[in-house]
Symmetry: C2
Subunit: 486 residues, 2 copies
């Protein structure tokens, strides 16, 4: 990492900026395996915080973790027709095992419905065994043509929830509940506002009845699908004969859901909040929330300053993830540069004069509006002040992201020319009516490289329902949100 | 699960007992993929507790988690000669990706040295970048011929630590430190005493300079290798050109270690502590430490008893993992049977008479010696009493396992006839001298189906050093421990 060379500014080349942040903040690195990346310790520490927060929410809503095999016999994947059609082109296949050609090739899971349901079928006999609420944290593989760290890689880490229910209504409720849990995490944990809604037929998961999605707007005004939940109906239950005896004593197929978010969320964090100095992490997901940088010249000062730094650190670490950067090989400026790049929310500077005055200087990684970047505070009040600052920053970061999204949401777009012009010139979320035909969606895809991100949930709909589909002019059956997307 | 049919007694068929416990306690199930298993929620909850405890210990000693790719280009695996020789016969190989034959086949990682070091080589420039202390929690695949749930499966979950150091002494110290951490976890967390020591040349990891191992004795008197740590010397550094500039300004190869434990530990728990009623879990690794079973006949009693059960539960859950089993579909006897099978340390029975007397009955899953299985205690003292009981049980379980190991350790064995006879008739750990030749180890392997588990660490050595190798009669150069093993 060369300190001298700054990052490419976002306004100049957002994609280059993104890649530089990912590499130089040491979130990830390229791997010498096609389309794969390495998640470096700093990036993985963010993922661990994501996991911890989500896992707790899953467990609070009655889900249990389990682990199903990495390999899926090829014939299993083929049992659900839409599913195999969607996933076959992007699978990695094991054909050799223990030095011999396998009788049946094994697909490395791209998602686990086709291995989980044939197994769980054995465990479900009666309505008393339902609901089954299972989740797994694992790696999956999809043979992607164009890959970018976190956003699209051949192998990625994710969680996949899989549930079985006695009725369609319960499955629908579960798909909706998990959408709500994801939304809560993204908005409160990631400080990232999301649009929620239903995917069109073309956008839904291969094999699902309905797919719900959470869409966030990145700083380059492209949408990022941050997570999805699926009401799978009885499609997989039929394919894998997952039946149960209902309360009337009849055999019936279960109703399934699945839902997942992945390490892609780390890419979403980068592109939601980062600036030209690097990463900006929401305090709740910052592996280091406060870094303390001791400042000294003479050796005599060093001992004094480090002693106070350690004391402040031990006070803060009761409630905060704190680190003292006592590296001798870097000067304070180089440390500031590095921790700004890594998005640490607060930096505490302690020099000999601060020691004498029993104070510290706290620098915020970002300020909202015309707020002050540096605050001097008395050592005695530091814990309460830092906690409050971190909470403020979390809230302000979210408000800033929300404001940016609102400024880049375009409603009341009624003509096809306007739709295309906005998508091409500005990007962002564009709300229009839609006739419901895939042909109109395809035309926008082809001509403006954008698609329908969601049929938005009620709360996101425009106050006045749009009247016409801007593409064909026919009457609108639902409002939709268009965007170019990752 | 049929309640009526008990488990096969351990004394009758230990292997059958093991499989039944694993399946019926719902730890795992077979998968329709060759040699693979499913870890069911109850088994996975144990694994999560194992992970949490170990992960904390790793982080306290400065290690950070990361994630490296699942796939290793075949040519990489081949770069370290011993390594490829050891692992090539048991690899699963991806030859198709995205519908096309790959130019270079990708091996599904059997262990990650061959992908981690070529990547980390880029990150290490100078002695200032050392040590590198990384760990990953992941799945690995080894194409095993004979598999058994948890003990040996084609795919399994593990953690693999990988470190790089500036000197041989530091690498050796790290391999030793991690051996100590594993031992502490196994003895204190799992209540499972382990022998530690060095593996012979034949027993070491393919590519290592030295392998250290932790060996536990199962109830059928077979040894189980519970974990290993490796001083890899500069073998992988040379193969993957992992160099650094030392303090003198010279380029040198780094010194590496690796170390791992896997879901095999769950099998070790089963076979260390289980009894003919099923699993016996050490309290620290029990997903449910206390189960509360309400006992009632009339509906009027039900509300009363459940109210107290919930009250007791909410007191306990401050410090203890507790669950109220309020299922209407099972009678208390069936619940006792199930929770005994699942190894829950304490069961609290609450009936109408207990409610009146403001007391509860606590039943221990196991008792040491002639201790009492059931204890009546006043509701007001329950939290302190339960906490103390769980601590007692943890300690007693460990003492019992330790005593069993000592009773089945045979020292002062000097003749080859005795060595073979003990290994065949009794099993257990057999201490003898050894001349150091692989031929003598091979002979025992062939004739008694046992091998040298470890060259034991000092504290495990017999007070009087053995004089001769019992196999060939030559002078002993070191004491060794023989056993039949999993």
């Amino acid at each position: 990492m060369t300190e001298e060379k700054g990052l490419t500014p976002r306004a100049q080349d957002f994609a280059a900026w993104y890649n530089e942040v990912v590499l130089r903040a040491e979130l990830a690195d390229y791997a010498p395996v096609r389309g794969c990346m390495v998640i470096r310790p700093y990036g993985y520490a963010i993922w661990e915080l994501v996991q911890r927060a989500l896992d707790e929410m899953f467990k609070q809503t009655g889900h249990q973790n389990a682990y199903f095999p990495l390999f899926i016999p090829q014939s299993y994947l083929a049992r659900e027709a839409e599913h195999i059609e969607g996933f076959a082109p992007e699978t990695a296949v094991v054909t050799l095992g223990g030095g011999k050609e396998l009788e049946e090739p094994l697909v490395v899971r791209p998602t686990s419905e086709a291995i989980i349901w044939p197994i769980m079928a054995k465990w479900i006999q009666s309505y008393r065994d339902l609901p089954v609420l299972v989740n797994q944290w694992c790696n999956v593989v999809r043979w992607e043509m164009r890959t970018r760290p976190f956003l699209r890689t051949t192998e990625f880490l994710w969680q996949e929830g899989h549930t079985a229910h006695a009725t369609e209504a319960e499955a629908e409720e579960e798909a909706r509940r998990m959408l709500g849990i994801y939304r809560k995490f993204m908005e409160e944990g990631m400080a990232m506002p999301v649009l929620t809604g239903r995917k069109t037929e073309q956008g839904k998961f291969a094999g699902a009845l309905r797919t719900y999605s959470l869409e966030a707007l990145m700083q380059d005004n492209r949408a990022l699908q941050a997570g999805t939940t699926h009401n799978l109906g009885q499609n997989f239950a039929r394919a894998f004969e997952v039946t149960f005896q209902n309360e009337k004593g009849e055999r019936d197929f279960v109703w399934n859901t699945s839902w997942g978010v992945s390490t892609r969320l780390i890419g979403a964090l980068v592109m939601s909040h980062g600036d030209d100095l690097g990463l900006v992490l929401p305090p709740r997901l910052a592996p280091v929330q406060v870094v303390i940088v001791p400042i000294y010249k003479a050796d005599r000062e060093r001992a004094l300053v480090l002693e106070v730094a350690q004391r402040v650190s031990s006070v803060l670490q009761r409630m905060v993830r704190v680190r003292v950067d006592d590296r001798e090989t870097l000067n304070p400026g180089a440390k500031y540069y590095e921790w700004d790049l890594k998005g640490v929310p607060l930096r505490i500077e302690i020099g000999p004069r601060d020691v004498t005055a029993q104070q510290v200087v706290v620098a915020r990684r970002f300020v909202a509006g015309d707020g002050k970047r540096k605050i001097t505070m008395r050592e005695g009040e530091i814990l309460a002040s830092v906690e409050r600052l971190l909470e403020d920053m979390q809230r302000e970061l979210r408000a800033r992201a929300r404001q940016r999204r609102e400024e880049n949401s375009h409603r009341d777009v009624t003509s096809y020319e306007d739709l295309k012009a906005i998508l091409e010139a500005k990007g962002g979320f564009v709300y229009t009516g839609w006739c419901g035909s895939p042909e109109c969606e395809d035309r926008v895809k082809e001509e403006a490289k954008a698609d329908i991100r969601v049929i938005p949930d009620d709360e996101f709909r425009s106050s006045k329902a749009p009247e016409r589909c801007p593409v064909c002019g026919a009457a609108s059956t639902q409002e939709v949100v268009w965007a170019k997307a990752y």
